[in-house]
Symmetry: C2
Subunit: 752 residues, 2 copies
């Protein structure tokens, strides 16, 4: 092609032959274009056609020459931003080519090429900000750790030092027996450190420090989660059931040995046919006044105790929940201490133990089934804090209602619903630490000629991980709050605290499920290798959404409690009453649903915590009021209440979600207020904005349906979420380092 | 309480003492109420107060008596629907009580009691429809299976009969070596059945039947997924790489032995540092013209081949992807056959094999790493369908561009992106079968006095599983379509088919991830036990979202291809052009965004497939047009294209999602048209409505933002989704039975 003006076609020729998105069709487009140009002679057309004949491709060398010519042009004139620009230079500024500008631009479009993009393949660009972005150290991660650890810093440090010892190296055997024994041995070490009995009375070796106990559970969760659950079963469930449901005679007899792990035990509540609906338990404890004993019995196979931790191998006793029968009358569910094995581990007469076998995770915990065949225990083995049998063989209780008594008993065990989400939180922190450190180092793809880009620089990758990091920080502070509420509880607050703990258990364990899923995928193939530990974190915590109360059931219970509160506050649900309720905390009704506010999109407003909190509160109240109205309407229309509640189950899940998110945001903001270090406060505040906005974004359908926001605003929020992810990205590594997880616990080669 | 009118308080007394939601506060509410009643004497007030003294509770007997009195009233007058109604009867129709109606109703409200609900606790109701709902047999599951299996029914039946044999009993050992050998042995049995070489040329023992091959992959996936992947590596990746990238000399030398599993091999593409960005592979194949050989070499540790199936134990050869170097020049990525082990399994000189070790799942597959230390192979070992070295030692290829050639090579391997989602589909079907059968049998909670309710009757449980069942049916037919498109492909369609397969791979594997997650949780503790197999299904398929192309990356690629198509159709993106494009298939612009349509909520309209398809198409086009505009705007504003694409990554994910969902719905509806059995057609049509509406519901935020729908409509859609779940529930068990998964494969005790 000696004729310079024909050279104008070189970039197009190069592109149709080399671009992997252009197809055969594009050859015809190009042929047609050439054919149509009246400034090219027939002979020249033949020449041009010969270059785009699919049956006779150019040689690799010719293609390379074309590429070289194009690159030369771009080096000469780096400002060129269109294919036509190259064509003009190649044609030596031929006037005809310049005049054909509209035609050439149309050609680019018809080929589906974006000129600027295509040019990117020919030049080495250095000012790509996607490539240049990186981690920075803008604040002290040590100070951040202090803020997170708070008053429990000392015990957290101690636990970390213990689990970092060589004897806590992870077990790599896939043999369940080996793993179970290792976990048991670890538990003994922890017992020696007085970690297990931390919350027990001082009289029996404890420290009466429940705050420390929760911090221990959480910190241990940076290590093996089978260990945490085994530990929790022994000291939290078995030990605390004695402490909460028993009386002095039980304390003095058992607590010390439980605390030292001399007396391993179980918490035997769940039965095969009754997990969520524990009121329906069928195991019986029949009182025999003659010899002052109880007979514990499993009436049918489906009434066997199931999934009981410590049962398959190590447990010597169990707190067994059973229906108390006296003289043929049913006195509701009560708790009894039943020996399972002798001190040599031999299973006692009448006890049948099954092994739950391999599980998805937590295989270091020996879950089993227990069946009782008329097992006789002394009268003293009834845990008698809330009910007992008097000397005449009659039932006595300060709580006359069997139903209320059972829920009171369950209420004393609510600590488990705080320990579990705190353990889940730690697992999420581990996953995020691994995934974020890896994403900061792992490079894949990049602009032509430039180096590959850390995958954490990709917006999609940021979207996957950084809102979850924000959520994890939010949850951290919210769980601190729930823990404190539990520790400082008054009797009159118990119902609220129980609902709060149940809800947080569900919210946080689901959050961990989602976080670990995202971390696994974000680490690609490396995330699938066991050495990087995301698999174990994920599989071990998978059951957290089920045990200690199935999440879906818990969320319904939380909503029931919210509904009851709502009804108490509102009495007759008049329309105005509800409107006032919904807008109670807003300055005026107008200020919230005013078009100026529903459309407000300036950055200051979008980043304003007051806007966030208002939006969360509004959603909480509006969903609750709407649910209450709907249930009433359904029942008024003649539906049985049981059916009415079933119809609205989906809405009920929304109500508890909205309630919990309001609490979490509120407590996050409260905690931030007390942060003194300016730099830490700044970055954590950004996390609070991201948490708030990403939750609003998730619920944008609801806000739009309600009219609380208009489309301009939800779209602006989406952009702001992207923006915040981008802004937080350089701090992401420091933010996970702030969790301060021992390296030996993380252990993932990709996170070193 | 001899005075009858005082008896009016009995139900309130009973409730405050026994209800588990009422708290201390309610005692004060009740005291205050009593105090305020001027029709009660002071002495009577004292008496009443004595019944609600927290410090002196009534006896359990008294409570039981109250309950008995209330129950008697309700038995007598079953029509009673309020607490007051009971009070009136107990007071013997005392006029004062009747007159106090407003006060008593206020009291109920203040206590947070919903009268109708509270009464439910005293009566045995039989007409609770939540309890009475159950599975029915409304259609022939056999006919449904025929519809699903279609033309591949014979081979599907054959595969099922093979994997149901005793030798295919699941391996229960946790020892990886044992498991790997078992899987290898299974593969040998399958090879003997001529399953592996089904798509190979007849000349080399095959049947040239690719449709059968995919059906085999899918059906095998009802069994162990390690088996499927090992099978796929051997026959699909190793075998097909020879068949697709090699020429006759390779076919005759290798294909027969690959088909019989005499020659186990690997597909060695991925490297530690290059997984998604395979163009960046660093392994080199240097041509030596002197002795007509290639030297295969791993230049650094991060260029080792990683995650390679069959590498750690069994592979004797590998198709290795490496940069071809001739005389110091780089000719891009090409493929070479490299021996790894001799026939005794001894690793050859220059080859270093690593073991990926324990993985989250698929532990029956021996994934490993491979390093090449200047391994010399003969010239003939280059797979030379698309490029070769001529006798003069010069590179030759009909595809002059290295880039285009590499993507052409990858394009021939697109079958893997059909096999994987089909395998994922089968895993989802297994999970749903287990979870739905269990949910139909498992009972938990129920109305007072009634039997417990099958958990599948709970709306929330239906919401969790039934839309996913609908989605699974939708995907089934869509994957049939993709398979057929692939089998009948023309060269000119390849780009579209590649994008489609890539997108479906991502969409379906994510769908399986979500489905198995939901199934695990829906089965509670039972879902966590390995015996019920959801854990394995879940962990094995977990990596499906990563291998054969990371889903997130694939979705971006699909969108890039959509963008290119869009640009070709639209040239200059004028506003009117885009609007016309978006509304192309709609009758008129007005008919779509007309307020009557955006607010239309009648059942006929909501269930109309044309409405669904229009909504899906609209979303597909509108998101694509908006993305194209946004990218152009960003680039026009001076952003480098690489950065611009990064900014919109999140939007890009939406575009491919909308595109895929349109295809899936379209193909689902097309498939339904050809169903002849009326009853099957009816139930499957309902599934199509549920699939469509639940996707619209998921995207309601988008539809509202866009103005395509208004709040009244999205709310009506939510209700319709609930309604469809409820209507499909009695068919749910039959619908999963239609999948016809062999019982020995399901194997879950909870699904028997």
């Amino acid at each position: 092609m000696e004729n310079p003006k024909l050279k104008a076609f070189i970039p197009f020729f190069y592109l149709v032959w080399s671009d992997d998105i252009l197809t055969q069709k594009e050859f015809f487009t190009l042929q047609e274009f050439i054919n149509f140009q009246n400034w090219i002679s027939q002979k020249e057309k033949e020449l041009l056609f010969s270059k785009i004949n699919i049956l006779d491709p150019p040689s690799r060398e010719e293609l390379t020459d074309w590429k070289y010519e194009i690159e030369k042009v771009i080096q000469l004139k780096p400002s060129i931003r269109s294919i036509l620009g190259i064509s003009i230079v190649l044609s030596k500024n031929d006037k005809i080519i310049k005049d054909q500008k509209p035609a050439f631009i149309k050609l680019e479009n018809d080929l589906g090429i974006l000129g600027e993009e295509a040019i990117g393949n020919f030049r080495e660009t250095t000012n790509i900000f996607t490539s240049n972005y990186q981690s920075v150290n803008r604040f002290s991660t040590k100070k951040l750790t202090q803020i997170l650890d708070g008053k429990q810093a000392a015990i957290i440090k101690k636990v970390k030092s213990v689990i970092s010892r060589p004897e806590f190296a992870y077990e790599t055997s896939t043999d369940t027996d080996v793993y179970r024994e290792k976990v048991y041995d670890w538990c003994k070490i922890l017992a020696k450190e007085n970690f297990g009995n931390r919350a027990f009375p001082k009289k029996y070796g404890g420290r009466e420090n429940i705050a420390d106990y929760f911090a221990i559970m959480e910190t241990l969760s940076y290590h093996d989660l089978s260990l945490v659950i085994k530990f929790g079963v022994q000291f939290g469930l078995w030990g605390m059931s004695i402490q909460s449901l028993g009386t002095e005679k039980h304390f003095s007899k058992y607590l010390k040995d439980i605390g030292t792990l001399k007396l391993p035990g179980c918490f035997a509540m769940t039965e095969t046919h009754h997990g969520s609906n524990v009121k329906g338990l069928e195991t019986t404890a029949t009182y025999n006044h003659n010899d002052q004993t109880f007979t514990i019995h499993t009436p049918n196979e489906n009434a066997q105790k199931e999934y009981i931790g410590n049962a398959a191998k190590h447990g010597q006793m169990a707190t067994v929940f059973a229906k108390l029968i006296i003289e043929g009358n049913d006195y509701g569910i009560n708790a009894f201490i039943v020996p399972l094995r002798d001190t040599n581990g031999k299973i006692l007469k009448g006890i049948t133990i099954g092994d739950c076998g391999l599980k998805m995770g937590l295989n270091g915990v020996d879950n089993g089934t227990i069946r009782f065949g008329n097992v006789v225990i002394p009268k003293d083995n009834m845990l008698d804090r809330f009910a007992w049998i008097n000397e005449k063989g009659k039932f006595e209780s300060p709580i006359p209602s069997d139903n209320r008594r059972f829920f009171t008993m369950l209420g004393t065990l609510v600590g488990g619903r705080i320990g579990i989400p705190r353990s889940a939180l730690a697992a999420a922190k581990s996953g995020l630490t691994i995934a974020i450190i890896y994403s900061d180092q792992r490079r894949q793809f990049g602009p032509e000629g430039g180096s590959e880009v850390p995958i954490l620089n990709y917006r999609m990758h940021q979207r996957r991980l950084i809102p979850l990091l924000a959520k994890t920080y939010a949850i951290h502070f919210a769980l601190q709050y729930v823990t404190n509420r539990f520790i400082d509880r008054k009797e009159s607050e118990m119902q609220e605290i129980e609902a709060l703990a149940a809800g947080m258990k569900a919210y946080v364990t689901w959050s961990t499920r989602d976080i670990l899923q995202e971390c696994r995928e974000a680490c690609g193939g490396k995330g699938y290798l066991s050495e990087n530990r995301i698999d174990t974190l994920k599989n071990d915590t998978e059951i957290y959404t089920t045990f200690e109360g199935d999440n879906t059931v818990l969320m319904q219970l939380v909503t029931k409690s919210r509904l009851s509160e709502f009804r108490k506050s509102f009495g007759e649900m008049s329309t105005m009453g509800i409107i006032n309720y919904v807008y109670e905390n807003a300055k005026t009704l107008i200020s919230e649903k005013n078009p100026i506010v529903t459309r407000k999109t300036d950055d200051d407003h979008l980043l304003d915590n007051e806007f966030h909190l208002n939006a969360f509160e509004y959603r909480e109240k509006a969903t609750l009021a709407s649910l209450a109205k709907r249930i009433k309407k359904l029942i008024d229309s003649g539906l049985e209440p049981y059916d009415a509640y079933n119809v609205v189950q989906h809405q009920m899940a929304d109500v508890s979600q909205a309630y919990l998110e309001r609490i979490i945001l509120e407590q996050f903001l409260t905690a931030i207020k007390s942060i003194k270090d300016k730099k830490c406060k700044e970055v954590v505040s950004k996390l609070s904005q991201l948490y708030a906005l990403s939750q609003i974004e998730r619920n944008k359908g609801w806000y739009l349906e309600d009219g609380y926001m208009e489309a301009v605003k939800t779209k602006a929020i989406r952009k702001m979420v992207n923006q915040l992810c981008w802004e937080i990205r350089p701090d992401a590594v420091s933010l996970v380092k702030g969790f301060d997880i021992p390296e030996s616990c993380l252990a993932a080669p990709i996170a070193l």
